[in-house]
């Protein structure tokens, strides 16, 4: 597939023609709060796509096998399993409600027939096992087919139960519950490359867990000041390195990213590397710090780069160079002159995520008005696309969108003041091997595929 390393020059995001594939979710204008999608994640093979929502539910989609008899159905995603991961809770000690919203889902690499994922809300992380059952045992001795116990005195002969096929049933069961380790709200979880441990990060602390052990976790980063009145910086995201199991990064609300090595000390309060771009003094304003706050950090698949998302841009960093990013991509620079309004309506605090393509040749992130942006790192071109029901004819190509900043608006352009700031694309995911992307637009999940296939 394009992007997966075929041929001499890998096709970038813009050589591809992105087409609508599917959309999941209600069509109503009236969006139920609980249906708002809060996280999207492909598993390691890309065959499964999980979403979490504000109502604490997880929905997993599975890609259909490509079918010769239906050549146009190029691997559609259909519902595989749905379960309630987290319930609303009440913290009696603090008189506070704990939201059931799923903040993050992370898959574990598959080790046997079952699938495992971690899902977390603000306080509790759960390990879920998703397994298939397609056989049923029949012919029990001690109970009837409908489950009623048979009278032992009536049994005159013994038989061996036999397995019969049944309709596929997918069961999700919670295997571990990792609770009571976070005072503040969990914003990230990340599975380590050793496949045995994972980290969870809240506003001030990062904890390291072993997947088998739920009653103990190790605190590896603590940014809480002795005096809370001195608090000026919080942790916004954290992730393990994809290959080096002792390395992880965490980003902050001051626009800095720290890379830590767990071999250097038990408590990684001091960093091994410190990534910060010096501020441009000419563009300083009262909003400079807020817009520099990093909302997401992601390592490239290669492990050589990492990407940080702040309010207006995406930056790619070479892990060997801390002084400045190697690439900076503007997501919606036209909003820079609107920061005061965006501060007033709180949009300036929106946390956008970002993701790499499978080959790291392209990156993607969301914006407002249901727009999302893709940047091709090789060709240096970028494109703005829209997730909307209007472009939802099967295999319809997505037309690039453009926001006009000046007074003269061309026909297909949209002016900055007409943008709908309630339609924000915060969560996007890219298939690990191919060119399929999942984009969450409030309560709808859009799946786009490329036409090259």
């Amino acid at each position: 597939m394009a992007g997966a390393g075929g041929g001499g020059c890998p096709a970038g995001a813009n050589d591809l023609q992105w087409c609508f594939s599917q959309v999941k979710g209600a069509i109503d204008e009236d969006v139920a709060e609980a249906d708002i999608i809060s996280t999207v994640e492909f598993n390691y093979s890309g065959d499964l796509l999980a979403t979490g929502d504000k109502g604490g539910r997880v929905v997993i989609f599975q890609r259909e096998q490509e079918n010769k008899s239906r050549p146009h159905s190029r691997g559609e995603y259909n519902v595989y399993s749905t379960f309630q991961s987290h319930e609303p809770e009440f913290d009696y000690l603090k008189s506070l409600e704990i939201e059931e919203k799923i903040n993050k889902i992370r898959w574990l690499p598959q080790q046997n027939a079952a699938q495992f994922l971690l899902s977390t809300n603000d306080k509790t992380i759960k390990l879920w096992k998703i397994s298939e059952r397609d056989k049923r045992a029949e012919g029990y001795n001690l109970k009837d087919e409908d489950g009623r116990l048979r009278d032992p005195f009536r049994i005159t002969a013994l038989r061996v139960p036999i397995l019969k096929p049944m309709d596929l049933m997918v069961e999700a069961s919670p295997r571990r519950i990792f609770a009571n380790a976070h005072t503040y709200h969990i914003n990230s979880i990340s599975v380590n490359s050793d496949h045995e441990t994972y980290l969870s990060a809240d506003d001030l602390r990062i904890n390291l867990w072993h997947l088998e052990i739920t009653d103990r976790s190790f605190n590896i980063v603590d940014m809480k000041p002795a005096n809370m009145e001195e608090l000026t910086e919080v942790i916004t995201a954290a992730e393990f390195h994809p290959h080096q199991c002792n390395v992880f990064v965490h980003s902050s609300s001051k626009g800095t990213t720290r890379l830590c090595d767990m071999r250097s000390s038990a408590l990684c309060d001091t960093h091994s590397k410190f990534f910060e771009e010096p501020e441009d003094p000419s563009s300083r304003s009262f909003f400079s710090e807020i817009i520099s706050s990093i909302s997401d950090v992601k390592f490239s698949h290669s492990g050589r780069y990492m990407m940080t998302r702040d309010y207006l841009s995406v930056k790619v960093w070479d892990l060997n160079m801390e002084s400045r990013p190697v690439e900076t991509h503007q997501v919606h620079e036209y909003l820079r002159s609107k920061l005061c309004s965006l501060y007033e309506n709180d949009c300036i605090f929106d946390k956008f995520e970002c993701c790499w393509s499978g080959s790291d040749s392209a990156i993607m992130t969301g914006s407002y008005n249901n727009f999302f942006r893709m940047f091709d790192r090789n060709t240096r071109r970028d494109v703005t696309l829209e997730a909307s029901r209007e472009n939802s004819k099967p295999r319809a190509s997505l037309k690039p969108r453009k926001v006009c900043t000046g007074a003269k608006r061309k026909r297909d352009e949209i002016s900055v003041d007409s943008l709908d700031f309630s339609k924000k694309i915060l969560h996007t995911a890219w298939h690990p091997a191919g060119n399929v992307i999942a984009v969450a637009a409030t309560n709808n999940l859009y799946i786009f595929q490329d036409k090259v296939n």
Partner: protein
């Protein structure tokens, strides 16, 4: 709608006008931030990242106003203490160090009124009651932490809003009225008197007139 908090060159070069405009924009931003922080106090569990970012913004404005001299003008009688010691976050959000030290340059009326305001706030059925178990807005470690600091921080907000010096307010606002108070009305859902001098509790969350003083306000003029 304002662009940035920076002063901008005015074509006609009227320095006073341009300075006043920038000041007003900055003041409005400060007011907006304070209202947001006050609302944070009322939320079930405030978003810590958001609170920290807003508090840092307020501190930045305060620093700039201190440098400009605008802040120092409103400084309390405790002139011996450097204004920087009284950066906003300490006072608004958590129990202030100077309160602990007992150096209250207390105008009797301000102190006397504050508990009434707070009790009124607690008693008012329509106002969301401050969660006394929450303590300091950032202090969510549990019952071991001080539970009273939320009320105390509210005390401080109400006191300063109530007993600002009329003359200083006039200095900034003069005859300016509607647009800035409409902001408050929109944010608080209340449409009412636009008087900058009218004390609480009728306008519990007003940020009008702003948080002009660095510390305890001087006695009413």
């Amino acid at each position: 709608m304002f662009a940035r908090g920076l002063k901008r060159k005015c074509a006609d070069g009227d320095e006073d006008m341009e300075g006043a405009l920038a000041s007003l924009q900055r003041q409005s931003l400060l007011d907006m931030s304070l209202v947001k922080l006050q609302l944070c106090h009322m939320l079930v569990e405030p978003n810590l990242c958001r609170s920290v970012l807003i508090a840092n913004t307020v501190r930045q404005i305060q620093e700039e106003m201190t440098q400009d001299g605008t802040w120092r003008v409103m400084a309390p009688q405790t002139a011996g203490q450097a204004p920087r010691d009284r950066l906003v976050s300490t006072e608004i959000l958590c129990r202030a160090a100077w309160e602990q030290d007992g150096e209250l340059p207390a105008p009797g009326s301000a102190d006397g009124d504050a508990p009434d305001l707070v009790s009124h706030l607690c008693g008012a059925p329509s106002a969301p009651a401050p969660r006394s178990t929450q303590g300091c807005v950032w202090d969510v470690d549990g019952p071991g932490e001080d539970r009273g600091s939320l009320q105390k921080s509210l005390d401080q907000i109400f006191e300063t809003l109530e007993s600002k010096t009329p003359s200083s307010v006039e200095g900034l606002f003069g005859d300016m009225d509607s647009p800035y108070y409409d902001l408050d009305a929109v944010l608080t859902g209340m449409v009412g008197s636009k008087s900058a001098r009218r004390p609480l509790p009728s306008s519990l969350f007003r940020g009008q007139g702003g948080f002009l003083q660095a510390g305890r306000p001087p006695g009413p003029a």
